[in-house]
Every structure is written in C-alpha cells, then in structure tokens.
C-alpha cells in the first residue's frame, strides 16, 4: 500500500504525517491525531456521525481520504469551544437536551454549526433539512431542532467556525 506525505491542520494545529493512500480522514483524525470525538456509525456514508468541517464545508469524514485533505484545514467537535467556553451550538444542545447517548452528537453539532454558517436564522424546516444527513436514534430530533434554534438566537455558529470560514 503506497504511503503519502500529508500536511493537515486540525483545529488550528498543523502536522505532517505519512499515511496510507486508503486511510479515511475519520481514521486519520481518530487514530493518527488522537481526536476521538469524531465518531463512526456506519460504513455507507449515511449516518453523519463522522461529520467534520473541511475548509469551512461540512463533510462526512468517512467518505474522504486523508490524502484528499492534504493542505486543508479541518475543524472537529474538539475545536469548537474556546478556553473551555462552549460554542453557542454546544450550549444549545445542553440547554435543550439535544443529546442522550451522545454518539451522534459531535457530527450533529458540526452539521448544525455548518448550517448556521450558511443560514444564521433557519426555521424548523431548514434546520431539519440541514441535519438530514445526520441520524440520531435517541432523541427523535425535535430537541435537536430546538437546540439549533437556541444557538441561532444565542450567537450562531460561534467564533471558531466563523473564523475558519473566513481564513
């Protein structure tokens, strides 16, 4: 298996690694970078548990090769809080009980953050459309919708995500 040199910035920290061509970005993040907040929930790109932001766009990191992220900036759930202060989306999920087991949550939070970057004031339908690619088996979604609404009303996508987009 051929190995490739990549330079990937994750949550503001750049690093160079040798990776196998077939290594998925999600496994790069989890196993090479040790950032286990991004989860894997399927092998068919359907569940969204692995969602991260790649150069300001949400992607399912199980369907991107690490080599394809060479030179890119990745934002994961670990990178959203600033000095221990949760982002508005993270706060919204706590306020509105938008999570139970928490397994879908990192992907859900990143998708919601991406949605608020695109549309700072989404209605319920727009929120549901925005998180359609993220499956949650615990909440029945309504309290996730409430959480995203809460975030929209309390600061939106948050400083980190907005900054990443701008860079």
């Amino acid at each position: 298996m051929s190995r490739h040199h990549v330079r990937i910035t994750v949550n503001g920290v750049a690093r160079e690694d040798e990776v196998e061509a077939r290594l998925l970005l999600v496994h790069y993040l989890r196993e090479v970078r040790g950032l286990t907040g991004t989860h894997v929930g399927c092998d068919t790109s359907n569940c969204g548990a692995c969602t991260v932001m790649l150069d300001g766009q949400t992607v399912k990191s199980c369907s991107v090769f690490a080599v394809a992220a060479d030179g890119c900036e990745v934002l994961t759930v670990e990178g959203l809080a600033v000095d221990g202060q949760l982002s508005p989306v993270q706060q919204g999920f706590q306020e509105c009980h938008g999570l139970q087991c928490g397994y879908c949550t990192p992907g859900m939070v990143i998708s919601a953050t991406g949605l608020l970057l695109e549309n700072p004031d989404p209605g319920d339908t727009a929120i549901r459309e925005g998180i359609e690619g993220n499956l949650c088996r615990c909440t029945g979604y309504e309290m996730i919708v409430d959480s995203v609404r809460w975030a929209a009303e309390h600061g939106g996508a948050g400083a980190v995500a907005t900054g990443t987009r701008g860079r």
């Binding site: 759930v77 670990e78 615990c138 909440t139």
Partner: protein, 779 residues
C-alpha cells in the same frame, strides 16, 4: 434549597459529550492494541467444508486466524438448555452473517483484508427465512438436538376460551404482524479486552456490566474480581446491548492467547446482521364482545420468530406479550399461547419494549376493530372496558401481574383536552368528500406497559442474578458526595437524575454530587439498565442509600448537639433542632466529625457512607394516552404524521426535560416502526436491509414534532413513586399511527394495513379497496 426532584435541570453528562471528550469503547486504545475481524457466512444455511486460512496467515501484520476447531475448548453462550450458541459457527452456518472464523491483525484495515483472504467452502442447505417455512411439514430442524424448529411452546391459560368466545354476541378474528425491527444504536457493538497476569479487563458496549462480568468469569473459570468489566460511554442500546454476544468471549480469549489488548469494532453492515433484532411476532387473535363493545373474551396465539439461536430474552418475549395482552382493559377471559420458532435469521432479542409493544399493538388494534364492527366511536369502546382507578392495584388473571396505581380514564380525558376531537373528526369527514384534499386519519393508543423489571424470581428467568438494584452513597468531608450505582446508562442521564435524588435526600447541592457507574471495579454489585428499571428500581436504591447516610449523619449531629435525633431536621445542608433553628450543625461539619472517633458515640462506624439495595415487590406499569393525526396522499399513499400528542403516566417525573427526551425518542422509534422500518430477508435467507439506508432509519425530515404531557399517579410500590418511561413511547406509538392510517382509509373499506405502512402498501390498500376486492383489504 428547592426540590431537585421534578426540576428540569440540564445534564451533567453533556459538557464532555459535546466537546468530543466522551469515552466510548473505540476511543480507548491501550498501547499494543490489535484488531479483530470476522469472516462471516454469506449463506443462511450451509454445511461448513474446508476453511483455507493460508493466504490470510501469510499477510503482513496478521497475528492469527482461528476457526471453531481452534477454539474447541471455549464454552457456548448461555441460552435455553440444549440451544447454546458456540462462539464461532461449528459444522454449520445458520444465518447470514454468522461468524465462521476470526482474524487478528495489527490494524483494522489489515484485519479486514485478512478476513477477506479466508476461503470457506460451503455446502448449501435449504434455508427457512420465515416461521412458516420453519414450521412447514418436512422442514429440517435448524438446531441439532431439536426435533423440529419450535424452541419453546406454552399456553398461559387453562383453556382456549372457546366457550366464552362462542357465547359472545359478536366475534371477530384478526391476524396482526409485529414486523422484525433492527435496534440500530448509532454506536454499533464494540469490545476491547486486555488480559494480563492480573486478570481480564473488558470494555464493552453493554447495558449490564456486572451481568456480563459474571457471565465471562463463569465461562473462563476466573474469580469474579479478576474480571473488570467496563461499560464506558455507550452510544445507545435500546435493549439490544443487554444481550451477550460471542464476540465478548472471543476478544477475551484472543487477548489471553496473544498477550495483547484485542479490539473488535463492528461495522454497521455487520451490526445489521449480528446485533439482535426485535419484535418479529405474528399474532392470531379471536375476540368476543357484546353489542356495546364490552370485551368478553380474547384468545391470542403468538408465533415468535426467535432467529437461528434463541436468545435468553428473545424466547421469552411472547410471554411478556401474553401477560400484557389485555392492556388497560377489564377482560374477563384471556387465553394466550405462544411458540418460539427457530429460523435461519439473525437472533431476536429485546428491542425497546421487548414484548410489550407487541401486546399494546394487539389490544389497541382490537379496540378499533371492535368499534368499527359495531359502528361506535373507538374511544367509547375503550372507556367501556377500562379498569377503573378505584380497582387499583389490579390483579390480572396472570399470577404476579398486578397493575399498580393508575387512572386510565383520566389519561384519556387529559389527552382530549389537548385535541379538539370533534373538529378533527369533522375535518376528516370533509376531506373524504374533497378529492383534492389529502385524507385525514385520527388514531388513539391508550396503553399500559411494564417497567421496573424485577423482582428477582421474574428477572432470573431472563438469566440475571437478580431483579434488584444497588447504590452506594459516600459523603466526603468537604460536603461533596459520590454515588455508585449498579444500573449502567447508555444515554438515559443517570448521573443527572440520581444526583437530583441525592441532592434532595441529603440537602446538598446538585453540582457537588458525582455519580459513578459502569465499572465493576469501582461499583458494588449491580444488574443493569433495561426494562425501564433505572428509576423505579435503581432510583429507590439511591434514595435508600442516601437516606441511610442522612440517618447516620443525623445520629452524629444529635450526639454533637446533645439533642434527640427525632427532634432534628435537615434544612439547606444543616441539621437543626425543630423549632429552634439557631441550634444546628452543618452536614459538612458532621462529615468531618464522622471521622473523629473521640467525638462520636462509642462504637460508631466511621465516615458517612452506606449501600442499599432495592428489590421491587412488583413490576411497575407505566401507562398513557396518545393520539396521532395523519395525512394520507391519495395519489402516492404517502403517510405524514401531522400531529402527535402524548400524555404519559410514569409516576413521579424526576426531570421533566429528560422525561420529554425519553418520550420523544421512544415515540420516534414507534412511528418509524409504523411507517418505515422492517428487516427483510429473501426466501434464501439473504438479508435485504443490510444498511441504515435500506432499512430506513428515519432522519429529521421523516419525523414530526411531539406534544407531551404527564399525569403523575405515583406507584405505591416504591418510595419514589416512579414507574419508568424509557419504553413507553415505543410501546404507545405504532398502533396510534396505524389506527390513524386505517381510520383515514376506513370509508374505502380498508380494515387493516400491516406495518410498516409504506406508501406502496397504503396505495395498494386504497387501490384494492377502490376496485372492490375486499378480501385483500379486510382482516
């Protein structure tokens, strides 16, 4: 300090989960961890011939390949005697996905490559993918040692109620199917074993760490303290993670053999065929009733598909269905019987509600059919048959099944206050005559289910050591408290809810309480989280343990204050003499002094810590009244839930915010069962729904918003008055939806639609009704 019980506090669990700092099994990787992968059967039924492992073994990075022959000494998983499952298929494969060989390699990609290198010769055998096929004359037995394919058969009444049914003025037969569902927790099964000279540490996605510890220790003949079982953060379970899986045994054994930590992370495709499925039950129903709709007798014959290897819970599911088949109604004679049938499919186990949703669906569909037959309102039929609040506790005809305090008529009244039933009916009628309007249907489900599983004699039947739960509460000298609980969560919010209970009992701030769970090394004996038992069984254990600590502290305070303990009260963290609040001592000071023997009464135990167990004397019986309003597209058959209203009675609500979450999640799964989900096999036993996309796990666009409310009728069977609610939504929703769909189409002559009510099925039912082929549309 106000009461924390009943307060909508946000969860202690959330900050770590929201920042990616949770700790699920796959997040844990001790140095040297290697990865296990399975070679799984592509066939539903076949003899296993030669297994060629050469290519796999030659691959770089592969530590080994093992087949059943290499693991001959390993014990089978516990089940019905004579039907125990080996950890790898031995001689024969019995369902698609059954593991045939196992590979360990240095990384997960290599392990998958090596599993693909293993070449297995199969000799195909005829497969039974349905219970009909398995029961057909001449069908070959799937399990060795079983004469046919019936794993268990039982009648739960003395006779078949034929006399009462024949005597009734009206009689009706129905066939209902509770289709096979997949639990699909978003975290699949994961395990990590690290066997060293000190013993085995096993991280599992499980709902019952102590139970699994006991099983594993027994299987390996290890002292229990040499098995440390950890359920770290667990990403949903819904009953399916209460089962024992052979991979638990395999990772442990291979870690022992290799002297390294071994990890197994199931893929979703594997999960769809390997994790237990739920429901999978067909019901033949015969009901007798009078002109007013009073039910005189009910006969229920259940055929339970238990898959290729009967699961300890799976075979017993129809027993729970039988017990609950009368719902919240006073039915003079109920005669249930069941048979659990082995097929060439994935084993069936518990899935949110486990046996009770099947019962609620049955009786609530019966209520609507009886109403339809007599031309009266379905709510009138329900009202005429309700068990009345004054009759509680209500002993059903089944021994040990005693409904606790509830008020079924009041639940329905409360539901009706939230919807304008007459207006909805009028609108439904109007739309029937307007060809451009979508049809509107209104469905009800007034249900009762079982929660608070124990007591021990019942829970033993499912393989658990007991039906009790345990808690230990320890007060530190700074006034903070640590609570260890035997129930182990997978999303329920135990840390928050139990902190609320302890905060009230000990009058200490919620933020100063830490709840530990899920680790057999730090938590005393426990059972697990399933059967809606965390709050009704685990809650009272916490409540009692905290009470014991408070009483100890009270005695010490009394000694220090030279007062009678009976004269003291605990107010805002301070013991004070009733009536003279100036004379008092802080709980924190008592905690400090509890470790200074010279200040204590002679022979006092030091410190403020105590353990309590709670053995329930009865199950609890959460109930509720739900209404679903659907729109049906006349052209496509698509069903949309436009309104869902739930009034639940789970007894005492500890945290309304989390209670809403539990109801939402359960209702979502119930709606999904009614409209979308079904595990299907083709006639060769090939799984045709092997991904979340094929299986139709609902997204945010597929589900409505929910209106919820509670009526709190406290149960007298535990000190908190809580009944549990984890399974209520999933128990209530399917029939609320299906009753609504059938209601929308009833004027066309449609009397039943099987779940899931897919657009195709609904469209067909409309078309066939329109073309006057009633035999296909009525039950």
């Amino acid at each position: 300090m106000g009461s924390m019980i009943g307060a909508s506090v946000t969860r202690k669990e959330d900050p770590s989960l929201l920042t990616g700092r949770g700790s699920y099994v796959d997040d844990i990787s001790p140095p040297g961890t290697v990865h296990m992968a399975f070679v799984r059967s592509p066939l539903a039924h076949a003899g296993i011939g030669n297994i060629d492992t050469k290519a796999a073994l030659e691959r770089t990075g592969v530590l080994g390949v093992w087949t059943a022959a290499d693991l001959a000494g390993l014990p089978n998983s516990r089940s019905v005697p004579g039907m125990e499952r080996p950890c790898l298929a031995t001689g024969k494969v019995r369902f698609v996905g059954e593991p045939v060989a196992v590979v360990v390699a240095s990384d997960r990609y290599l392990a998958a490559d090596a599993a693909g290198d293993v070449d297995v010769d199969y000799e195909p055998l005829p497969a039974c993918s349905t219970t009909d096929a398995a029961l057909a004359p001449g069908a070959a037995p799937i399990l060795d040692g079983l004469p046919g394919n019936v794993a268990m058969e039982q009648a739960l009444a003395a006779d078949d109620a034929e006399a009462e049914l024949s005597a009734a003025a009206h009689r009706l037969q129905l066939q209902l199917v509770n289709q096979r569902c997949a639990p699909v927790p978003i975290e699949p099964t994961a395990c990590l074993a690290d066997w060293t000279a000190r013993g085995l540490t096993l991280y599992l996605t499980t709902q019952a760490p102590h139970h699994m510890r006991n099983e594993i220790a027994t299987m390996f003949g290890l002292p229990q303290q040499q098995v440390r079982l950890v359920a770290p953060d667990v990403g949903g379970g819904f009953g399916a993670k209460a089962s024992f899986y052979p991979e638990f045994l395999l990772v442990s054994e291979l870690s022992r053999r290799l002297g390294r930590p071994v990890k197994y992370i199931e893929t979703r495709s594997e999960n769809m065929m390997s994790m237990v499925h739920g429901r999978a039950q067909a019901q033949d129903i015969d009901v007798g009733f009078d002109d007013e709709g009073h039910i005189a007798a009910l006969r229920v014959r259940i055929t339970q598909d238990c898959g290729a290897w009967p699961d300890t819970t799976g075979v017993g599911l129809p027993m729970l269905t039988s017990f609950m088949s009368g719902g919240c109604y006073k039915i003079p004679k109920i005669s249930p019987s069941f048979r659990s049938v082995v097929t060439n499919t994935t084993p069936v186990g518990s899935y949110r509600g486990a046996g009770r949703p099947e019962a609620a669906f049955l009786i609530e569909r019966v209520m609507d059919r009886v109403a339809d037959e007599l031309g009266i309102d379905p709510l009138d039929v329900r009202r005429r048959n309700y068990i009345q609040p004054g009759e509680m506790p209500y002993a059903t005809q089944f021994e040990g099944i005693v409904y606790d305090e509830a008020n079924y008529p009041a639940l329905l009244d409360r539901l009706l206050e939230k919807i304008d039933y007459q207006a909805l009916r009028a609108e439904a009628d109007r739309r029937r005559t307007d060809p451009n309007a979508k049809l509107l249907g209104i469905g009800f489900s007034t249900f009762v289910e079982m929660g608070g599983f124990g007591p021990t004699p019942l829970f033993e039947q499912f393989g658990f050591i007991g039906g009790w739960e345990s808690a230990n509460v320890r007060l530190n000298t700074d006034g903070s408290a640590v609570v260890s609980v035997g129930t182990s969560p997978h999303g329920q919010g135990h840390e928050t809810a139990f902190s609320q209970v302890v905060s009230d009992v000990l009058s200490i701030p919620f933020d100063k309480i830490t709840v530990l769970h899920g680790d057999t090394e730090t938590v005393q004996e426990g059972v697990g989280t399933m059967g809606s038992r965390a709050m009704p069984v685990g809650g009272p254990a916490v409540f009692k343990a905290a009470g014991k600590v408070r009483d100890r502290a009270m005695r010490i305070a009394a000694h220090l204050l030279e007062a009678d303990p009976d004269d003291l009260e605990l107010v805002d963290g301070r013991f004070q003499v009733r009536g003279s609040p100036d004379s008092g001592i802080d709980l924190t000071e008592v905690a400090v002094k509890s470790l200074k023997p010279h200040l204590l009464p002679p022979d006092s135990d030091l410190g403020l810590a105590d353990t309590a167990h709670h053995e329930p004397t009865n199950l609890s019986y959460p109930s509720g009244a739900h209404c679903c309003v659907v729109e049906v597209d006349r052209d496509t058959g698509r069903v949309d839930v436009v309104r869902y209203v739930a009034v639940d009675d789970c007894g005492k609500v500890i945290n309304p915010l989390m209670a809403r979450g539990q109801i939402h999640g359960g209702v979502a799964q119930g709606i999904a069962q009614a409209l979308l989900e079904e595990v299907t096999y083709d006639e060769d036993g090939q799984l045709t729904t092997a991904s979340v996309a094929d299986y139709l796990v609902p997204s945010a666009l597929d589900l409505p918003s929910y209106e919820t409310d509670h009526q709190e009728t406290l149960t007298s069977f535990n000190p908190l008055g809580a009944k549990g609610l984890g399974e209520s939504g999933a128990t209530a929703a399917p029939q609320a939806v299906v009753n609504a769909v059938v209601d929308a189409l009833s004027h066309l002559g449609v009397r039943n639609i099987d779940m899931p009510c897919s657009p195709q099925r609904v469209w067909r039912a409309m078309r066939d009704a329109g073309s006057a082929r009633p035999s296909e549309v009525s039950t």
